[in-house]
């Protein structure tokens, strides 16, 4: 199996090292790096905005570009976190704590260097795990039928709904709204038009791209306009010296990077968890195993290496369920799943058999991309930081205009722009009320498959709903979904029980 994977990987390199794909990889990681640096403009918006322009491109080139943006953004996010304590991404929040303290001590260069090296090491390790772990999972997933897929989607949605904010109720509402949006248009089984209100534009359904750009990019700009959080702030960039880390820095960062690579990969594989949670857990782990936990928060190199390594490793992990099961593990991979479908590919176990050049080309490109990122980040950090001089108002106008062009280019129809406008307002409201948006996007992307598999299962069982409970894999997946949904309540119950016992003593 390992030899087979290695052989396939070599074939993947022959695809990834084609001049055209190298260019897309470079473009992706560079764009991702810039996007990661820019506060308030995350990789999900960048990936969503770029999808319309993927038309006509070869699927492998397109996905290399989009994946490059994803993991490139994880690298870029650390730059502003360390220099300015302004995390470009939520996954860089933990890096900002000690990274900025190190910068204040005049060690910004070392922190940036360690961040780049740890990201490279963990990113590469996670791609190695992906190389050998993904085919195993894909082989297992071949035994899945419609009921298993339905239960898997229930589990994925439950995980994203609960883990994205920890509030199962809000996550659940967001996920249900996503599936409701997916029911607009023709019925997947019978072709009956539904919920189109007489509009021919709604007969084909609402494209996930319109929703993704509306609720992420437009809503983000609207929120920044209201809170004025980034307005008028012309971000300056400080000086840094000693760009390369010392031998001691490398020594103390070695084990945190290795630990974080495992943590990040495993958490990345779990649907709904993703890079942010991985970086939080890595920080907590390093603090727990450290000989000087009291120094965490005052500028400790391990506290930069760990979270940075974890958030990069999580991107490789998130690719596993996306490629092998067709279930995205994060909002960026949810948008990427939509992109793959637009390009005519159906991610899942068969993708490895039907399109090996695509899958292994992508995996190989991630090795290449990580090397490119290291080369970009070490000597070109100064140039990336210059992007911060771009004033926010111009950025905001640019994002609004690019969103509009992106959505218009998708179907060449103005109606989509109105839908995007409405969803931008909805996204803003949800953001204000702390509703997670990832479950909505994931549910929208999976919605049609969700309905198709549920109804197919019922056709197979002749209307017997117990089909989902009588098949072992399906039952196990539903039990895990239930556990995820009721986990916060179980935890509360255990805590209250313990508190009661302590009080009784």
């Amino acid at each position: 199996m390992f030899f087979e994977a290695f052989h396939s990987l070599l074939q993947g390199f022959s695809v990834a090292l084609m001049l055209k794909n190298l260019w897309y990889c470079f473009l992706g990681v560079t764009l991702g790096n810039i996007v990661g640096v820019l506060p308030g403009f995350g990789p999900v918006s960048a990936v969503a905005i770029l999808i319309p322009f993927m038309y006509g491109k070869e699927p492998v080139s397109a996905i290399i570009l989009l994946a490059g943006i994803y993991y490139g953004a994880m690298y870029g996010g650390s730059i502003t976190s360390i220099l300015l304590k302004v995390p470009g991404e939520s996954s860089s929040v933990m890096t900002a704590i000690d990274g900025y303290e190190l910068a204040l001590k005049g060690r910004a260069g070392s922190a940036l260097g360690i961040s780049a090296l740890a990201s490279f090491a963990a990113g590469t390790m996670s791609v190695v795990f992906l190389t050998f772990f993904a085919p195993l999972l894909a082989g297992f997933a071949l035994s899945f039928g419609a009921p298993e897929y339905f239960s898997l989607m229930v589990m994925g949605l439950a995980a994203v709904a609960v883990l994205s904010t920890g509030d199962a109720l809000k996550g659940g509402i967001s996920a249900v709204l996503g599936i409701i949006l997916a029911t607009v248009g023709s019925d997947v089984i019978t072709g009956t038009p539904r919920f189109h209100f007489g509009s021919i534009y709604l007969l084909d359904g609402i494209d996930f791209l319109v929703v993704a750009i509306g609720v992420f990019a437009v809503a983000e700009v609207l929120d920044n306009i209201v809170t004025k959080s980034k307005l008028g702030r012309r971000l300056s960039y400080g000086k840094w010296t000693n760009l390369l880390p010392t031998r001691d820095d490398l020594k103390v960062s070695f084990w945190p990077t290795i630990r974080a690579a495992f943590i990040g990969f495993v958490i990345g594989v779990l649907p709904g968890a993703g890079a942010t949670i991985a970086s939080f857990i890595s920080y907590a782990t390093e603090k727990r195993v450290s000989k000087y936990p009291e120094k965490f928060g005052t500028g400790v190199m391990e506290a930069v290496a760990g979270p940075e390594a974890a958030n990069n490793a999580a991107t490789g992990g998130a690719m596993v369920p996306l490629l092998t099961l067709g279930i995205p593990g994060s909002n960026v991979t949810a948008v990427m799943l939509g992109a793959l479908m637009i390009l005519g590919l159906q991610p899942g176990p068969l993708l490895f058999q039907e399109n090996p050049a695509f899958v292994w080309g992508l995996v190989a490109s991630m090795y290449v991309g990580n090397i490119m990122l290291l080369i970009l980040n070490i000597p070109l950090i100064g140039i990336f930081v210059q992007v911060l001089r771009f004033s926010f108002p111009i950025m905001a106008v640019l994002v609004m205009e690019i969103s509009l062009v992106g959505v218009y280019a998708f179907n060449n129809n103005i109606f989509d722009l109105y839908v995007m406008f409405v969803l931008g307002v909805v996204g803003y409201m949800f953001k204000k009320l702390d509703f997670p948006l990832a479950p909505m996007i994931l549910a929208l992307v999976l919605g049609r498959m969700f309905e198709e598999h549920s109804r197919r299962s019922l056709i197979i069982s002749d209307g017997d709903f117990s089909i989902f409970l009588t098949r072992p894999i399906s039952l196990a997946l539903l039990l895990i979904a239930g556990l995820i949904m009721f986990y916060p309540m179980i935890l509360d119950f255990i805590r209250q029980h313990r508190r009661g016992r302590i009080n009784n003593r």
Binding site: G172, K228, I394, V397, L404, V405, Y408, A409, F421
Partner: protein, 160 residues
């Protein structure tokens, strides 16, 4: 924020009832062994209704936090939304170039309070960057409208 949450809860209950009403028009049971088109929507509508009621009750029970939903620069938000809607509505007949230029100009001048020269210069540069990147380089067919007619008339386009 509590008031915002309660309003949101009520709106979602309304949406759920409306969706159940719509899904009722489709077959909810089995038709010749095939689950009807309305089955999943009906289940989704009921689920949304239950979740929304739970959300409303939870928000209702919570003590007011003192935080207002409508904090921040709501006027700028309203202006931005109106201008954006105007941008979308005018893009077909005004064309991409003119509508993008005007949107950039009013957004930078009125919402972001930048000075006239910066606003005009930035809007022109942004419009040109977008037009060249998307229309000329990526081949996206952007709406021509009045912008193209003016450019044609001025002789910048063939057939003008």
């Amino acid at each position: 924020m509590r008031r915002g949450e309660i309003t949101c809860g009520i709106l979602m209950i309304g949406l759920a009832i409306f969706y159940i009403h719509l899904s009722w028009k489709f077959p909810i049971g089995f038709v010749k062994g095939v689950p009807g088109s309305g089955m999943l929507p009906f289940i989704l509508g009921v689920t949304l209704l239950l979740l929304s009621v739970s959300y409303l009750l939870r928000s209702w029970k919570r003590a007011p936090s003192g935080e207002n939903f409508w904090t921040g620069d709501i006027t700028s938000l309203a202006i931005c939304l109106i201008f954006y809607l105007g941008y979308v509505a005018s893009i077909k007949w005004l064309g991409f170039i003119l509508s993008t230029f005007f949107f950039g100009l009013v957004a930078l001048k009125i919402i972001f309070k930048m000075n006239w020269s910066t606003s005009i210069f930035s809007s022109i540069v942004l419009t040109l960057i977008l037009q060249v990147s998307f229309y000329n380089l990526l081949g996206v067919p952007l709406p021509g409208g009045l912008s193209w007619r003016i450019l044609s008339f001025l002789g910048f386009l063939p057939g003008g």
